[in-house]
């Protein structure tokens, strides 16, 4: 058994004891998300293709239920749970496991139930408790986040190397994807687009990239289930003075947020520090939707904490929390720019995982 799995199951069992439950049912519908809790993967190390559940009793061995049946070999290979029950009919496999181990009358705690677990499986919703429990990242999550960030930075560097006029956006996207997958990413939340003036962020389309285009991208690979995100802006050709000024405004905003963020500080205070520069520069109107969304967000595996970096988020930062900080927004004349780094909260402030902080890059046309 993996040491990390042992630690996580220990923490989960203490959470179960506090909630007074005998069996933890962690459910996944097989659909994954960059920013939310993935209890099955956090507990088992296994990334399901379809419905799956980890059944963790307060004593004894855990059971991993997976579908389809033929995915059993992968569950054994990738997961930390030794007892695997597989079936093409997930509901039947789940019921079979519950029956086999005599857990039918156990008082249950539920994780991920809102994603489609049969409502007949009654129990106490423990999502909020796990979010809290896993808010401070463990050693494996931090290691994976560093791996993923290294991959993201190489993906961006590759983009700068292959970017040329005449490419279509989706061809450039394919290049980045190929790079990060070749480096070991198991998924990628990749938004990338080219325009003279972006109204907002979007996925790649048909547009033929031209000299003078601004390329914006969120490169967000996952390594071992842990996502990261870097936000970058590059110009194909020379950078204008206004582009440079606006990018600096956002880079300074991010620096202000990184300086403000430390244990004991509320997310809303980090956001306030980030907004101060753009507001002083006369861009307050653009510090709200639809010109931007949030100033960053959690990158989930066990937890989505500390959540979206918005002015109403009163979450207090703790050492070991991770998130992406990104003052991405639209500014008049230059459009939507992206500047963002994945960070971990330390006593000295927010420490980036990246080796190079975002600059406004110019690629010779």
């Amino acid at each position: 058994m993996s040491d990390i799995f042992s630690i996580r199951t220990g923490e989960a069992r203490r959470m179960m004891a506090r909630a007074g439950v005998d069996l933890l049912v962690a459910y996944s519908n097989g659909q994954h998300s960059m920013g939310t809790l993935d209890a099955v993967r956090w507990l088992s190390g296994f990334k399901p293709m379809s419905e799956a559940a980890v059944l963790l009793p307060k004593d004894g061995e855990a059971v991993l239920v997976v579908s389809p049946a033929w995915d059993e070999a992968r569950a054994i290979k990738r997961g930390w749970v030794e007892e695997v029950v597989a079936g093409n009919d997930f509901a039947a496999a789940f019921e079979g496991a519950i029956s086999k181990y005599g857990w039918g009358s156990a008082k249950k705690g539920l994780l991920g139930a809102s994603r489609g677990l049969d409502p007949a499986v009654a129990g106490i919703d423990l999502d909020a408790q796990l979010e809290r429990l896993a808010a401070v990242r463990d050693e494996l999550e931090l290691e994976l986040m560093q791996q993923a960030t290294d991959i993201a930075e190489k993906g961006y560097q590759h983009m700068l190397e292959v970017l040329r006029p005449g490419m279509r956006e989706y061809e450039l996207c394919a290049e980045i994807e190929h790079c990060v997958r070749s480096l070991g990413a198991d998924d990628d939340f990749l938004l990338m687009a080219a325009s003279r003036c972006h109204p907002s962020v979007r996925g790649a389309g048909d547009r033929v990239i031209d000299v003078g285009d601004v390329i914006i991208g969120e490169i967000s690979p996952s390594a071992g289930g842990q996502f990261t995100q870097i936000c970058r802006t590059a110009v194909l050709g020379p950078v204008s003075d206004l582009q440079r000024e606006h990018h600096k405004l956002l880079a300074d905003s991010m620096a202000a947020g990184m300086k403000a963020g430390r244990p004991g500080v509320k997310i809303s205070e980090v956001v306030e520090a980030m907004n101060e520069g753009p507001i002083k520069a006369g861009y307050e109107k653009y510090c709200h939707p639809p010109y931007m969304r949030v100033r960053g967000h959690g990158l989930g595996l066990g937890s989505s904490m500390p959540g979206d970096l918005g002015p109403e988020n009163q979450t207090v930062l703790e050492a070991g929390m991770t998130f992406v900080i990104h003052p991405n927004q639209f500014l008049p004349q230059t459009g939507y720019f992206m500047v963002g780094e994945p960070v971990v909260v330390t006593d000295e402030g927010l420490k980036p995982f990246t080796k190079r902080i975002a600059t406004l890059d110019s690629v010779p046309a």
């Binding site: 097989g30 293709m49 389809p68 394919a174 907002s200 996925g203 639809p290």
Partner: protein
């Protein structure tokens, strides 16, 4: 086959106005509104997310790239596309990727949704479809916001409309199949060059995306188990016989392809079983009839196929317990995966259009 989905569709996302001009959607909406009239529905609310968007995209052409979206279809007149709640950052892009002129972001799911329905003259019986794509919490909020309406399940109504693919839809599936074929060729080339199986799969993924895929799902044998698996990391494992499953999404439409690089009696047997299923896939036959024709009980574990279109595994399933009648112009992916002790086995597939006389290869 079951595949691993990504957290985001990050390939070519655009609305091809030449292939799908507005008149295509106007006809679809008119037919759906006629069906609504027959069922005495005052309106439809149709949701979708980036993985399950079939009903939404059929009506709007819009493929949500993150979060959820919904279409409001009145009994008469134009439809409305709702791209979510709050913010609206996505609106400028959404408006370029749908034929629907009225694209909105709602302030909330209570008053704002009710106001929208009232604005479109919707009252009485309202059909709901694909609300499950929103997640149970959001679905419950929307259902609560619809208090006072008589809500009915409109899933079957839309399923009937979508069962037979329209000619332009068939073209989109052919485009996806063409990309899948090129990805398979890249896989074969990498295999010839003695590259590891996972590296070959990543090469195939690249070619598909470079050639315009919106999404790509690849399974390949990559260890001694011989089982097909998604690529989660790189390994040095290479096998002389490589088996892969490639599914490609172009413009929202899926096509798939099984690849067995190698020869032998197992592959011949799989191909023969697929050929029998192709002949059995005629309009009027039942899905279970096609499954029975295959006579390969050991392949049942992986499934024998399903319908394709604006989804990868659409009903009906080619299975003994699915007695759905096949209809002309339904597209079926017919698959036979045969296992092999200590090896990757074989996978044979055929993508067919159902006709009165049997399946006709689409690719």
């Amino acid at each position: 086959m079951q595949t691993m989905s990504s957290v985001l569709l990050h390939g070519r996302a655009s609305w091809d106005r030449n292939l799908f001009p507005p008149d295509e959607f106007e006809e679809r909406v008119a037919q759906v509104q006629a069906a609504m009239a027959r069922e005495d529905l005052g309106g439809l609310l149709v949701a979708g997310n980036f993985l399950e968007y079939g009903n939404l995209a059929y009506l709007t052409g819009y493929l949500p790239w993150a979060g959820w979206s919904a279409a409001v279809v009145p009994a008469e007149g134009d439809i409305t596309l709702v791209t979510g709640v709050g913010g609206g950052r996505e609106l400028p892009v959404a408006r370029t990727r749908t034929w629907v002129p009225d694209v909105r972001n709602l302030k909330n799911l209570n008053d704002a949704l009710r106001d929208l329905l009232a604005d479109r003259g919707i009252s009485g019986r309202v059909g709901l479809a694909s609300l499950g794509t929103l997640g149970s919490r959001l679905e419950q909020r929307i259902r609560a916001g619809l208090e006072g309406f008589a809500c009915v399940d409109a899933g079957p109504l839309l399923a009937r409309q979508r069962a037979a693919l329209r000619s332009r839809e068939l073209s989109a599936v052919r485009e996806a199949a063409s990309i899948a074929q090129r990805a398979a060729e890249a896989l074969g080339l990498a295999h010839q060059k003695k590259r590891p199986n996972t590296a070959a799969a990543i090469d195939a993924d690249y070619v598909a995306r470079r050639d315009g895929a919106l999404d790509v799902r690849i399974l390949v044998n990559q260890d001694a188990s011989g089982e097909l698996q998604p690529v989660e990391d790189q390994s040095d494992f290479r096998s002389d016989t490589m088996v892969a499953y490639i599914a490609v999404n172009a413009m929202g439409y899926w096509a798939d392809l099984g690849v067995t690089l190698g020869t032998g009696p197992l592959l011949d047997r799989a191909r023969a079983a697929v050929e029998v299923m192709v002949r059995a896939a005629r309009a009027g036959a039942r899905a279970s009839d096609v499954a029975a024709a295959a006579s390969v009980p050991e392949a049942k574990r992986w499934g024998l196929g399903a319908a394709l279109g604006l989804g990868l595994n659409l009903p009906p399933a080619i299975a003994a317990d699915d007695h759905t009648d096949l209809v002309s112009d339904m597209v079926l992916s017919l698959r036979v995966r045969l296992p092999e002790a200590g090896g990757p086995g074989a996978l044979a597939t055929e993508l067919v259009r159902v006709t009165p006389t049997g399946g006709v290869a689409l690719a």
